[in-house]
Each structure stands twice: as C-alpha cells, then as structure tokens.
Amino acid sequence: MKVKFFATYRQIANCKDFEIEAPADVLGLLKVLCRRWPEFSNKIVAPDGESLGADAIVLVNGRHIQHLDGVRTSLANGDTVTLLPLVAGG
C-alpha cells in the first residue's frame, strides 16, 4: 500500500510517499510510522496511544477515517493512506 505525506509531515518523513506492506489497520500503520520517524510520536497518535492525534488528518483512499472506522479502519495492499496536519486556507 501507499502512504502519502503533506505539509509539515512531509518534512518529518523527508519524502512525499512510500510503499509499505499493509498493517492490519490505521492504528497499526501510525505506530509503524512513529517507530520509523519518532518525531511523529506526539503528533499522529494521541497520548493514550490508541487514538488519532488531535491535530492530524488521516484519509484512507480519500475518505477521512472519521467516516470509516476511525483508527480501526482496516487496511489492505492497494490502499492509499494520506497523512497531514490540520491545515486550512480558502
């Protein structure tokens, strides 16, 4: 599966995207990312270690995970996960 980064998360990961074997769910993926890039730790996972960081946006195939199964949204190879911090414009 593919993981894409935008805004400051791209700077943390130092890449635009990468391919990875799909973990079982979004939370599993977030934990993999935190291990690989420790700077993500206090951003994409909340202090309880079980939910999404308050200022992170995660999309699975373009859908916000809040409208799927949250961090329990299951993942499969072929999926695209998009990660970015809260941003706005207009």
């Binding site: 400051t8 409208h67 998009t82 706005a88 414009g89």
Partner: protein, 602 residues
C-alpha cells in the same frame, strides 16, 4: 453604542458629478443593527439605491465601509468592505479586502465613503485627515494597479492607495478594486463600477486614533482571542508556513478538485506540482500579514528572470492556484504565478478569469469556439495559452474582449451557457460541489453568486473545523450552513479577517465587539445581526430580480466518474428544502413576513 465607541462617527459623501463632498454623522442605529462594513455598507446601499439600477451606470452607488473593529487592536482587524450592485451578477455586490487601507481611512476620521454619480473626466479622491480633494487622474488613466500606486505615492507621499487597473476602466465584469497593490476587493466586478464613475483611485493618509468603549475589557477579550489564534495549529503556524495553497493536495486527495471546467475526472495527477508545498520550495520569498494580523498568510513570490514567466508579486492563493492550474490542467507553477501576477497588476478576479479560460478550453475542444476567434489552438494543459489569454483579457485584446464578460456570457455567446460553471453568473471556486455537498448548498444560496467565503463549508466538511462532517451526506447541512453564513456576515461586518475563524469563534468575535462598542448584548443577540444582514442581502436580490438558487446542470446530473466521491452529483433539492426551513423562509426561498419582522426588517 455611541460615537467614539470604536466608531469615528463620520461618513464622507462624495458627489462625483458635481465634484463636491461633505461629511455627515454615521447612522448609529444602523451601525448597531447592521454591525459595520459588509452589513452597514449594504444597509446604506439598500436605503439609497434602486435595486433595479443598472450596475454599470453612474446611478449605481459605490460605498467603502469599515467595521467597528477595523483599525483597532482586535485580531486581524484590517478589513473593510466595498459595496455596490455587482456588474457580474446583478446581486448585491459586497467585496472584502485586507491590507492597511481600511484602518487608514478610520485614522483619517471616516467610517466610510459613499460615492455618488460620475465625474466627466478621470479623478482620484485625496484624503489627508480633514483635507479632502478631488484631483485630476487623467495621467493615471490606463496605468496598471502597481504603476498607479507607485505614482500616487510619489505624488502624495505616505498614503494608502485603493485603485482600479485598466480592466476596471474598461468595464471588465470581474475587475477588482485593489489596495496596496495586491490586496483585492475581488469578486463581482466592483472595479468596473469605479471605472464607470471615472474614479481611478482613493488615497488616504490618517493620523487620528480609533477609541474603544471599554479599553480594559477590550484588552482582556483581544488577549484571550489572540492566545487562541496563536495556539491553534492552523492560525498559529500553518497558514504562515504554507499559505492557502496548502489546500491543493488535500482537495485533490478527497476527490474534490474541480477539473477541466467540471468535465474531467476527480483526481489531478500533477496537483503536487502546483501545491503550497511546492510554492514554499520554489518561488516563495517570504510570508506577510495585513494590518494587526499575526496569522500572516500572504505569499510574496518571485519567478526568476530566466523563466518565460519571470515576475515578482504576491500569491497565488489557493483559488487562483486552482483556477489557472488544476481547472485548466496546467501543472507549471511559474505560469500559474504569472497569470496571478497579471490579475493583480491589471485588477482582475483570478477565480472568474481562470474558470472562464477553463470554460473556453472546453468549448474549444468541443469545436464550439472556432480557432479563428481565439487566434490559436486552445486545449487543456497549455500553460502558455493560460498566460497569453490572461494578458489578452488584461489588455482587452481580441478574444480577451469576450473573456472579460466572464464564463456565463462568453459561453452563452457560443450557445452553451450551461457549460459556465457559475451560479448567478459568478464562477464557483475550487471545490467540486458533487464531492462536498455542503459547499453545493453554499454555492447555490450565496447572496453574491458562486462563492465559498459566504459560508466556508470546507472547514467542517474537509478540514474538521470546528467539527468534522461527512461531505458525502446531505443531512444537517442546511442548519450548519445557516450558522456559517450568519457568523461570516458578522465577521465580515465587524471588520476582522474571516481566517481568524479557523481558530476562534463566536465568543471571541462577540467578546471583542461588545467591549469595543460598549454593548451588553449576548453572543446570540450579536449573531442575530449576522442573520439580519443575510436577510437584508437576500431581500435586495429578490427586489433586483436575481435568478433562483440553483447550480449548473452538470453538477446536478453528471456524476463524478471516479475518486472518493465517485457516482455523486450535488443533491441540491433535498438540502435546499432543509435550508429554507431553518432560515424560516418559504419553500420558494423567500423570507417570510414573520422572519423579516423578527429581524426588524419588516
């Protein structure tokens, strides 16, 4: 509320026909009921101008109005509004701008300026505190916005300049009124109203104070509001780092980037090439802010001299990045920047122009516009053509004369008005209404035609601000949009920047307003003023015979072919019924007598 309580208490009225002017007391009851800027400017306009006035006639009035917070230390309080009947739409035209011009007008001793009639030769209004002159502007006529601004600063010294470019002089239906070169009262074509009056510019220098009613309470409220803005990830650091262009990638990811005039798919493979991230890596020189703004979202950009698109200026904002970029399938960021620079220099709304070029591209590919009319082959993806057509429109040359009518009238000329991606003849901006149901409703009901900043439903539907709603469902969107529209009307009218509302909300706006004007009204009472303003605008539009609330047939019938919103159309009818009900309007979308009575508009 009394004079001195955030208000100066004085309105300047200028009769351009006779070349005379005078001051009059600000109508304080109206200032209380309609807040300021957008609301108060609209109230003056509605009281003084026939709704059926021809927008491009000297009978159309042009009103500059500040808000009570404009020029105070409140959060991002540099905003002012220009109000007239809009040439592009025939609706009430109210366009908001930042920079420093609005505060300077108040420092000079005026809450607003009402321009009546038209001069028999080009003039500009010079204001230096209580010294006022209508000066000859023949030497400025035909000059672009940047040149005009430089010449006026050289001529008048340390002044703030609001002016039009050649497009406004010529009557381009989406010409903007620009201040401090790159800030725009951008939408609806108000620049052309200034042009028809032979009014090239307003320059102002002010040295007086703006006093608030309860300084201690005001300081307490603005300190609270500032802390919230600075601590928020968007208004604290995000917008300064990337500007509004940061939205390009995320809108693409959620499948909501309108492509190829709405004809295309839903994902632009080259979105990253024209994104905020890319702009920061390449052409960004620095960020900058308007008066009293810590958010500082402005982009100062430079395209190097060795590029065919060399230039220096500001932007692009996300909307221009989309209109000249994704909508035209252009992935050359330098070309997008160049087209945007030209818009600023000549005073044009880049949303309407980019969308009009995209519409021309579709018509051209269909064979509906003969190549001989344009002068060269026109297809999606041609960055040179986008810059070339932007210049042609700026100069009013050849096919540019049709472009300057906007997409509706241009497409109508070729027998395909249905392919104009506009509402009430104003182009919708950078969010596909099929992928975000809430913005579909906003586009259809906006009181100034296709517009995102009358009720920015992207905040909840995509970004989760202040709550996350599902963009693919219609339930609840009517009442959410009503709240956004009323709050936005309030925000625009107090004189602070709408972008502050990404971080703060009604309590902070109302708190600062109360202390500034010396009011004890509740938050709800203050929000009700936003609703009153919305209904006032609606009532004007009805009297002006503006067409009903709908969307282009493409968005209602042609489903998105792919992406996260695959199969979706804009489900407008369901949402409209819900919206009219929560607004207390008839099923035809007209405010009832009871509603008008409740809002003291009866």
């Amino acid at each position: 509320m009394a004079v001195g309580n955030a208000w100066i208490g004085t309105v300047l009225r200028v009769d351009l026909t006779t070349g005379t002017w005078g001051t009059e007391p600000l109508r304080m009851k109206d200032a209380n009921d309609f807040v300021g800027a957008r609301g108060l400017g609209t109230k003056y306009f509605c009281d003084e101008c026939d709704p059926n006035v021809e927008p491009l006639s000297v009978e159309n009035k042009l009103i500059y109005m500040t808000g009570p917070l404009t020029g105070t230390a409140a959060t991002s309080a540099g905003r002012f509004e220009v109000v007239a009947k809009a040439p592009l739409t025939g609706t009430i035209g109210a366009a908001n701008s930042g920079g420093h011009f609005g505060p300077e007008l108040k420092f000079a001793g005026y809450d607003g300026i009402i321009f009546e009639g038209g001069a028999d030769h080009p003039v500009y209004l010079y204001i230096n505190d209580d010294r006022i002159e209508l000066r000859d502007a023949t030497h400025l006529w035909g000059k672009d916005v940047h040149k005009t601004t430089d010449m006026l600063i050289e001529e008048c010294g340390n002044v703030r300049v609001s002016c039009i470019g050649p497009t406004g002089e010529r009557g381009c239906l989406f010409s903007a009124i620009m201040n401090e070169k790159n800030r725009a009262a951008g939408r609806g074509g108000l620049g052309a109203v200034m042009g028809v009056k032979n009014l090239k510019a307003v320059v102002v220098r002010g040295t007086g104070p703006v006093k608030v009613a309860r300084p201690e309470g005001f300081l307490r409220e603005l300190t609270k509001a500032r802390a919230i803005i600075q601590a928020h990830p968007v208004t604290g650091t995000g917008m300064a780092a990337y500007g509004t262009q940061i939205l390009m990638n995320i809108l693409n990811e959620v499948g909501a980037l309108p492509l190829c005039n709405g004809r295309g798919g839903s994902i632009f493979d080259h979105a990253d090439e024209i994104s905020g991230e890319k702009l920061s890596e390449t052409y960004l020189v620095k960020n900058q802010g308007c008066f009293g703004c810590s958010i500082a979202c402005g982009r100062v950009t430079r395209i190097p001299d060795d590029s065919p698109y060399a230039g220096f200026g500001e932007g692009p904002e996300y909307e221009a990045g989309w209109s000249f970029g994704a909508d035209c399938q252009v992935d050359d960021l330098a070309a997008v920047c160049k087209a945007n620079f030209i818009c600023n220099e000549y005073g044009m709304d880049p949303i309407t122009l980019g969308a009009t070029i995209a519409c021309a591209m579709e018509l051209s590919e269909m064979g509906a516009i003969p190549e001989s009319d344009i002068g060269f082959p026109l297809r999606f993806g041609d960055s040179d053509a986008v810059v070339r057509l932007t210049k042609m429109c700026a100069e009013g040359e050849g096919f540019g004369k049709l472009l300057e009518l906007g997409s509706y009238r241009m497409a109508e000329h070729y027998g395909h008005a249905e392919l104009s991606m506009s509402v009430k003849k104003q182009e919708m901006p950078a969010y596909d209404a099929r992928a975000i149901q809430g913005i579909a409703l906003e586009y259809a009901t906006s009181n100034r035609g296709g517009c995102h900043v009358r009720g920015y439903m992207i905040a909840p539907e995509v970004l989760g601000l202040p709550i996350k709603t599902d963009p693919l469902v219609t339930e609840g969107k009517g009442s959410l949009l009503k709240t956004f529209q009323d709050l936005t009307a309030l925000c625009d009218s107090v004189g602070i920047c709408l972008f502050t509302t990404f971080g703060m909300g009604l309590p902070e706006i109302a708190g600062q307003y109360r202390e500034a004007v010396g009011s004890d009204e509740s938050d709800e009472d203050i929000l009700l003023k936003g609703e009153r303003i919305w209904n006032l605008e609606k009532r004007f539009n009805m009297a002006a015979g503006v067409e009903k609330d709908t969307l282009p047939p493409r968005l209602l019938r042609e489903a998105l072919p792919s992406g996260p919103a695959k199969g979706k159309v804009a489900e407008l009818q369901t949402m409209l019924a819900d919206y009219y009900e929560v607004r207390g309007w008839t099923s035809e979308g007209e405010p009832t007598d009871e509603k008008l009575e409740q809002l003291s508009l009866g």
